[in-house]
């Protein structure tokens, strides 16, 4: 029996748009619409989608940087959707997040050491041996003691992201949300960081939610994958299965659109027409209807049902329903 570390159920987030003379809510940005997914122990779950797909918002909701409009977040069997105060602090010792831009996610006026020690002090961990623990953390992410004395701008991009990872690990979490962890890094450094994440998972069996737009990274690192479009999940499957046998027209188009660095490979590309719909329109039917090459009447009327294709492969498309 696999244990689910995090499970989100029917998660919805609508950001109000205020306007008008009285600054009342005149509409919503429908960022996340009814997303259900789970991350298992020791597993990496990839959440893939383009800008505006709502993937980052899902991550921010899970670490409780923002509250969902509706839906539930269950962590280790406990509903933590509305936790506050001490309970929230406890939750945040088990859940951490790594952001896209490592430079922006570090306080530019704090050394690595003071950043790490601050965390330990707040959670009263390793009293008396904070420094030793900080050194150990640095070694764990492939850096040395001397880097403790550096300011963020004295580190390279890859080193910064390692430090950010070390800081997330400092509270000894079970689960880490990785929001585009390598998007700001160069390819040669990205590989180092991805391998570090893999290695850490192997050793300490962390669970990851990997948010990215990069399918290649998903393929390399994640065990299961959910594809999002316009705040709706459209397909979810074990990664290998997804790449072998994509079912949703959007997933298929996305995979075909990714350029492959093999000039001998000649493929017919599926070029989608149009652009993602405006997020201020409420999603009532299939969000992909306007760009889908196979669109049918029913797609414009009703949300497609969750169709189970077996071997944990679920898709939301009227073609497969």
């Amino acid at each position: 029996m696999v244990t689910e570390v995090v499970k989100i159920e029917n998660l919805t987030k609508h950001f109000p748009i205020v306007g008008g003379i009285l600054q009342k809510t005149i509409g919503y940005v429908y960022a996340v619409n009814d997303v259900t997914m789970s991350v298992r122990e020791g597993e990496t779950h990839g959440l893939v989608g383009e800008s505006g797909s709502g993937k980052t918002t899902v991550g921010r909701i899970i670490v409780k940087l923002t509250n969902p409009t509706s839906g539930r977040i269950i962590f280790d069997g406990e509903d933590i959707t509305r936790v506050k105060g001490e309970a929230l602090r406890n939750y945040r010792r088990k859940v951490q997040m790594v952001f896209q831009d490592p430079y922006a996610s570090m306080n530019p006026r704090m050394t690595v050491k003071s950043a790490l020690l601050e965390v330990m002090k707040i959670h009263s961990m390793h009293k008396g041996s904070e420094y030793e623990y900080a050194t150990k953390l640095m070694e764990r992410v492939g850096m040395s003691e001397e880097h403790l004395y550096r300011y963020p701008h004295e580190l390279s991009g890859g080193q910064r992201q390692r430090v950010v990872i070390a800081r997330a690990l400092s509270v000894e979490p079970k689960f880490i949300v990785l929001d585009e962890p390598t998007a700001s890094l160069d390819v040669s450094v990205q590989a180092q960081v991805l391998d570090l994440l893999k290695e850490l998972q192997k050793q300490y069996s962390y669970s990851y939610l990997l948010i990215t737009h990069n399918l290649a990274i998903i393929k390399y690192i994640s065990h299961r994958t959910t594809v999002m479009y316009r705040g709706v999940w459209v397909e979810t499957a074990p990664t290998q299965e997804l790449f072998k046998n994509p079912q949703h027209p959007y997933t298929i188009a996305l995979m075909s659109a990714v350029p492959v660095p093999d000039p001998t490979l000649r493929r017919e590309k599926i070029i989608l027409k149009g652009e993602p719909p405006n997020p201020i329109e409420k999603v009532v039917a299939c969000p992909f209807q306007d760009r889908c090459p196979y669109v049918m009447d029913v797609c414009r009327e009703k949300m497609p049902p969750d169709t189970d294709l077996g071997s944990e492969h679920l898709v939301r498309c009227w073609l497969r329903a």
Binding site: G19, I21, Q23
Partner: protein, 343 residues
């Protein structure tokens, strides 16, 4: 949100601000100051004081007093000005056009000199010209008003007069004798405008001469600010990517700078100029008083020296109302100028 909605919302908020302003001035004038001051002298019999208090509503609770205060404000019943020997409101409105005239004159100089200097400074970044303009504008914002005014008065009016050279007038709005000879009917109260439409060029030119020194004084203090903003925003814009686009697509350099960059760079300058104009309209207290220019500011300085609190407070309220209104206009113009603005 549409522009008009934004404007209405801003006006709506303005009401709160103005209410706040009146609470503050009410507090200052009724609670901290002795409101009886204007009505009680040494010769007033002590037993008469309660009657005066009653007449002024001072025996009532504060909130009622405040409502009376507001009523008085709205009905322009602003009290008696001891220094002007007339109701405060009349004194202020009588003097307002002079202030407007001075404000317009100095504003024209500020824009005509400040903006070009800023742009030259930006285009010749780090050259000798740039440094010279930088010093000039920093000096402008470092100079005490009264000192500049008096120095100008001394060197362009007093010294030439003593030496028997032609000199600039440094007192009042117009030569009193000349004015008696060629009187002008008061229409708008803007002397140059009034005399021009009445074909009275003698007074028009004399009034213009009287404006030169005070307008130069006010202008010099603000040119620096305009120049600095124009310079830095022009430099900022020239660094932007869309300037590279214009160049990369073969537009001539003149057009890149004077059409594409300038419009962007002028947005912050417009905002600042608006605020400066608001400040000028709200009264150039020191300058007016030194050049005996009969605007609201001069009246206020008189009021200060004779402890005329009604006049001071009335001026404070009026000045802030004008200032707030101009600010509002500036914000609306800004929203209009920059299509990106989100309200």
């Amino acid at each position: 949100m549409k522009l008009y909605e934004y404007s209405i919302r801003r006006i709506f908020l303005l009401i709160f601000v103005l209410l706040g302003v009146t609470i503050l001035t009410f507090y200052l004038s009724r609670i901290v100051l002795n409101p009886l001051g204007a009505y009680v002298t040494e010769r007033t019999r002590p037993e008469a004081i309660p009657a005066i208090e009653k007449r002024l509503g001072l025996d009532k609770p504060f909130y009622i007093q405040y409502i009376i205060y507001l009523q008085d404000l709205v009905t322009f019943n602003w009290g008696w000005s001891r220094v002007a020997h007339m109701p405060v409101i009349e004194a202020l409105f009588y003097r307002f056009p002079a202030t407007v005239e001075l404000a317009i004159a100095s504003f024209i100089i500020i824009i005509l000199v400040g903006v070009p200097l800023g742009i030259i400074s930006a285009l010749k970044n780090n050259s000798v010209v740039d440094h010279a303009i930088r010093i000039f504008s920093l000096t402008g914002i470092s100079i005490p008003v009264f000192w500049l005014a008096l120095t100008l008065q001394y060197s362009f009016s007093y010294l030439p007069k003593v030496a028997g050279l032609p000199s600039l007038p440094s007192n009042g709005r117009v030569d009193a004798l000349l004015y008696q000879q060629y009187p002008v009917n008061r229409i708008t109260g803007l002397m140059i405008f009034d005399s021009l439409i009445q074909g009275n060029f003698i007074i028009a030119s004399d009034a213009l001469l009287h404006l030169i020194l005070p307008a130069m004084t006010l202008a010099f203090l603000s040119i620096g600010a305009v120049t600095r903003v124009a310079r830095s925003s022009m430099l900022e814009v020239l660094r932007q990517d869309y300037i590279s686009t214009a160049r990369a697509y073969g537009l001539p350099e003149r057009m890149v700078i004077y059409k594409y960059a300038l419009k962007n760079a002028m947005i912050p300058v417009t905002t600042l100029s608006g605020l400066l104009f608001g400040g000028l309209l709200a009264g150039a207290i020191i300058t007016e008083s030194i050049f005996a220019f009969p605007g609201m500011g001069q009246l206020t300085v008189f009021a200060i020296s004779s402890n005329d609190s009604y006049t001071i407070m009335a001026f404070t309220v009026l000045a802030s109302f004008i200032y707030v209104l101009i600010n509002l206009l500036v914000d609306i113009v800004y929203a209009k100028l920059d299509p990106r603005i989100k309200y």
